[in-house]
């Protein structure tokens, strides 16, 4: 089974120094795995360290401790990173939250989509870079008319599609999406999530999907991890997590989802969650197959 694991994050810790004396622990002993062809969702409130984790995985931050093993390479080790640089840069791709700032305003769409190919001087499979860009655009649902437009002429959803096309043009094995739908309207969000699902089925890449919209995560992901203050408090297959959450934080989080049925919605009770430090100590323990919960040893949450 070990070969199956594409990305293995082990005891990752990252600290942001605010000043000489104060430091914020953005990630605290975070561990999870992503298998090949799996969609892993990472949820949590804002400031819980989801984006930091994504950036560590993309080598944008150097973590303070812990290691990240990607395809057998420890990418936190500078020497190993250098030897495998090309492989890492071509097989991992990142999608940002805000498409308006992740696309260069002064480049045309076709240049943006073909940019990674140009950087790595890859000969496009479909003749010219432009043809390649057109193909990738069609894949994400935009036609050739968009090739010569500038990002400022597109809508938010169209821009996000362009960003996805750019990431996919390298045919990545791991796609990291850092809240890709948070800045979009609800209807567009559904379109994009559908698109992700479809693309993942077509390409079969592994996908780290970061969001705070629980409904979308439930719909899209195979497995879900819940983060709180830089720690992973619970990780389980999506169905199981949403049907039987164990950790009190997860329970509180799930109880906050509105139910699209007025009668049930009226009866819904939002569980209060107290920041009891007791809840955030201990180790991840397997309570049922594939279901891990952060707890002290020998203890069970009601």
């Amino acid at each position: 089974m070990n070969d199956d694991i594409l990305l293995d994050v082990r005891h990752l810790t990252h600290v942001f120094p605010l000043s000489k004396k104060i430091a914020v622990k953005a990630l605290d002993d975070l561990s999870f795995q992503i298998r090949r062809g799996e969609i892993f969702g990472l949820v949590g409130e804002s400031g819980s360290g989801k984006s930091t984790a994504a950036r560590c995985i993309m080598n944008l931050y150097r973590p303070a401790a812990g290691e990240i093993i990607y395809k057998g390479v420890n990418i936190c080790d500078p020497a190993q990173f250098r030897t495998h640089r090309k492989m890492l840069q071509t097989t991992r791709q990142l999608i940002f939250q805000d498409s308006s700032s992740s696309l260069d305003q002064r480049m045309k769409v076709c240049d943006i989509v073909a940019e990674p190919l140009k950087i790595h001087r890859i000969r496009p499979a479909r003749g010219s870079l432009r043809a390649e860009a057109e193909f990738q655009l069609r894949y994400v649902g935009l036609d050739a008319g968009f090739l010569d437009k500038y990002p400022s002429e597109l809508s938010g959803g169209q821009r996000q599609r362009v960003a996805i096309a750019r990431a996919l043009s390298m045919e990545p094995e791991l796609l990291v999406a850092d809240e890709p739908i948070a800045s979009l309207d609800v209807s567009i969000q559904a379109q994009i999530v559908n698109l992700f699902r479809h693309l993942q089925q077509e390409h079969g890449f592994s996908f780290l999907f970061i969001a705070h919209d629980l409904a979308m995560v439930e719909f899209l992901c195979d497995r879900v991890g819940v983060m709180y203050h830089g720690r992973l408090v619970e990780a389980a297959p999506a169905k199981e997590l949403f049907s039987s959450p164990v950790h009190p934080y997860t329970q509180a989080l799930l109880s906050a989802i509105p139910i699209p049925d007025p009668r049930l919605e009226r009866a819904r009770q939002i569980r209060q969650f107290t920041e009891d430090p007791e809840n955030f100590q201990g180790v991840l323990t397997e309570v049922s197959p594939e279901h891990y919960v952060l707890m002290r040893e020998g203890e069970h949450h009601g």
Binding site: L94, F96, D104, E115, D143, F146, S152, Q191
Partner: protein, 294 residues
Amino acid sequence: MSSQFEIVGIRPADAKPPVRRQKWYRGKPLFAAALLGLIVAGCLGCGYIMTKDPSYMNLSNCNVAPDREFLFGTDTMGRDIFSMIWYGGRISLFIGAAATVVSTFLAIVFGALSGTAPEWLDTLLMRLTDILLSVPNLLVTVLLQAILGEANVLSLSLVIGVTSWTSIAKVVRTEVRQIRGSEYVIAAKCMGGGFFYILRKHLTPNFISSIMFMVVMNVRSAIVAESTLSFMGIGLPLEVISWGSMLSLSEKALMTNSWWMILIPGAFIVATLLCITSIGNYIRKKANNTQSNL
């Protein structure tokens, strides 16, 4: 592509609405461009215009006021000013352009370096530029000239370029600081773009509009610097004809009241600078417009 999959809510790109035709020359500094073109063309093609050999010292015709034969008169060494203007203009304009190239290149590299460097290095570099700025330019020029030996066209352009890059570098640095945190630069970094790739593809296009005006103005100040230095006797020597070195004879001209030796080269300098300024102003207005529209 799978057929069941349907894309919702995407409309094809609209055809561009017809743009109302405007007079193309509206608001453009046509007169300035034409005059500048005329001066540049005259200087480049000086061989066809010149009536005399500009460096020939005709000692029997010193200090001749403008007349039929010597259109702009002759200087104290008997050289024909009309020919010297076009011949020397080549060198003045060349120094203006070359010094600007040098200073812009330095400014972009230094500014981008300082902008992408960690905080402490950035502070150090900027302090250094401040200190460099506080040494009088005149002094730096004299020193550099002394190190490089006898002044010639290339060394003078180099010296002027080296002493005039700081203000552009500061603008570049601020712009780079703003741009480098943006996500498209991070994305390019993730995709494996190196420092120079990002500088070329992302940073430069984004700050070019804000420094364009300053670059054009740098051509202007380089021409001024050349003429000032040559006038003071620390730039080009008398034998190398340029607008500035022509003016270095002006002290003698003042004694003999030969106004043409001072007014004519100066008028050419001022006209060139005015043209460059109005073109620069046009560029600045255009750059500001596009920025506010984005």
